[in-house]
């Protein structure tokens, strides 16, 4: 396109346009003081909050790493605990115990949690008072301190009606009760996220409600449910208080069995080592903390990756 030569301007036009230009130029520049300063202070406070949170996390990791480094080695996983030789002390029974516990929790919590969530979302009439009561109770149970679940487990699972004794299954049942509300809430959110239009489309074809749930709703909510379950498991794996009450014996030298005999768990074993007077055992405890953090980080990262990869954008 050829540039047009500007037409000669009259004096009046030139004055008017330069006046307009002067009015605009500089009027939009940043003004010092006032709201801008407040904005900056607010931003600085937010950075401070994030910094404190990061600092706390870093302190735990660094402190444990420094303290536990001397003891870090393969023997942590392969050797059993020892009261005499701290350099040979390991976490093997505790690791196996934790694995059994988590497996038990997984088997118990997924069908019960998902079933409860499907009932509450798909079948329950939310206007009925008993359904509202159930919902309220589940929210409350998610916030109950974990030691209460330990007492519950001791009274009803280890002794009382079930009388299972101090075995790993009892520990799994107790931990399942602890994390079940979390799983139900997460599964409900996942099921609720499936839009009603999908259900309507399925029902309009002549599918039954059960077919719709099984073939449309549940498959679409699996990523959300899986994420919730993994996060619940990562909470369960780190609980010490309820396990102390249902008999995760603090000193187990043999590999535990799920259905009989004593057992231990990682958090409880760390607790045990940390209580020892000798400094060398504290090193072992710190190494155990690092081990647990690695496991927890891996589980949570997997959950987040799973959610990001498979999450359905409606």
């Amino acid at each position: 396109m050829s540039r047009r030569t500007p037409e000669p301007m009259s004096e009046r036009t030139r004055l008017a346009s330069s006046g307009a230009r002067a009015a605009v130029v500089g009027s939009m520049n940043r003004q010092p003081g006032g709201d801008v300063a407040k904005g900056n202070i607010f931003f600085a406070l937010l950075l401070l909050a994030v910094g404190i949170a990061m600092l706390a996390l870093a302190a735990v990791i660094v402190q444990s790493a420094i303290k536990g480094a001397p003891s870090f080695g393969l023997h942590l996983i392969t050797d059993g605990p020892s009261t005499i030789f701290p350099e040979k002390a390991g976490f093997r029974p505790a690791i196996i115990g934790s694995l059994y516990l988590i497996l038990g929790v997984l088997i118990l919590v997924v069908p019960i949690g998902v079933g409860a969530a499907v009932y509450l979302e798909e079948y329950a009439d939310s206007t009925r008072w008993w359904n509202r009561l159930i919902e309220l109770n589940i929210q409350n149970l998610a916030a109950v301190p974990s030691i209460i679940y330990g007492i519950l487990g001791l009274a009803f699972i280890v002794r009382g009606p079930l009388s299972l004794g101090f075995i790993a299954l009892a520990g799994s049942l107790t931990l399942s009760l602890l994390v079940l509300p979390t799983v139900i809430i997460a599964a409900r959110e996942a099921v609720r996220a499936v839009p009603p239009s999908i259900r309507e489309g399925s029902l309009a074809l002549g599918a039954t409600q059960w077919q719709t749930i099984r073939r449309q709703v549940l498959p679409a909510s699996i990523p959300g449910i899986a994420t919730g379950v993994i996060l619940a498991l990562s909470r369960a794996i780190g609980e010490a208080a309820p396990l102390l009450l249902v008999g995760a014996a603090t000193f187990v030298t043999f590999d535990p069995q799920p259905l009989s005999g004593g057992y231990s768990a990682m958090p409880v074993q760390i607790f045990n080592y940390a209580l020892r007077p000798q400094d060398e055992f504290k090193v072992v405890a710190a190494a155990g903390v690092i081990l647990m953090l690695v496991v927890l980080l891996a589980m949570n990262s997997f959950a987040i990756w799973l959610r990001n990869r498979y999450e359905q954008q409606w």
Binding site: P195, E200, G201, S202, L203, A204, G206, A207, T208
Partner: protein
Amino acid sequence: MLERVADQAKRATGAATGRKDAPEIDVSGVTEGVRHGHALKGSDTIFDLKDLTVRYNGQPAVKDVTMDVHENEITALIGPSGCGKSTLIRCFNRMNDLIPTATVEGHCFYHGQDLYDSKVDPVEVRKRIGMVFQKPNPFPKSIFDNVAFGPKVLGLKDVSERVERALRGAALWDEVKDRLDQNAYGMSGGQQQRLCIARCIAVDPDVILMDEPCSALDPISTGKIEDLMLELKEQYSIVIVTHNMQQAARVSNRTAFLIVELSASEKDRWGELVEYDDTDKIFTNPADPRTEDYVTGKVG
């Protein structure tokens, strides 16, 4: 194809000029099915509504609708917003059952069977009377799995053939035959709606209900779906809700016009059927002045 164009042109001219002396083009040759411009005869009644009333929480949404729907025709429900067209069309396949606060009074006979009889299973009803919704709602699965879902849950055989037939019937086969395993969400809006239509016809229904199927689509896709409707009515009976009067004039054989009625205190509103007749008559020579006001655009 040419007959259809001529037919549409005749209808459009008739609607515009109010004259019906264009020559009749009989294209069926099989039944004595007579095209537009004359009183329609020879078409069986499939739906018979008698004093059908729907209430939400006791408040009426649509009251005392009495009309019939005929086989292999396109029946349009038109009217202003809030006149209960969507509520009414959802009665035909018991979809109002999904709304807990909805109650239905009166009768809706399908081939003589009252759909709201206590012995009738709504799941069985929906196997024969399908529905396409306003916003395309494909499942989060592949194109093949979307169309195959209906036949699979209904236990029908020859799923792959049904899928191909349905996609051909929905004028979608050529566009998707090489990518049947791709996610349905990758398709455009118009394609998704045609996929929903394919999904609906894969279970061989008798009736297809369409609740404003084109309102979320662009004009080109709308035109494609209207052409599709005219093809589909050879095999199925179609009831369509539309807020687009011209669409009703273009595609339908009969049109029902509903309005919003207010109670004396003006606190309650519900829909009522004003006039139900051949589309030509509704648009060129309606009996009720309210119909005339609406179709000529005097009232919105």
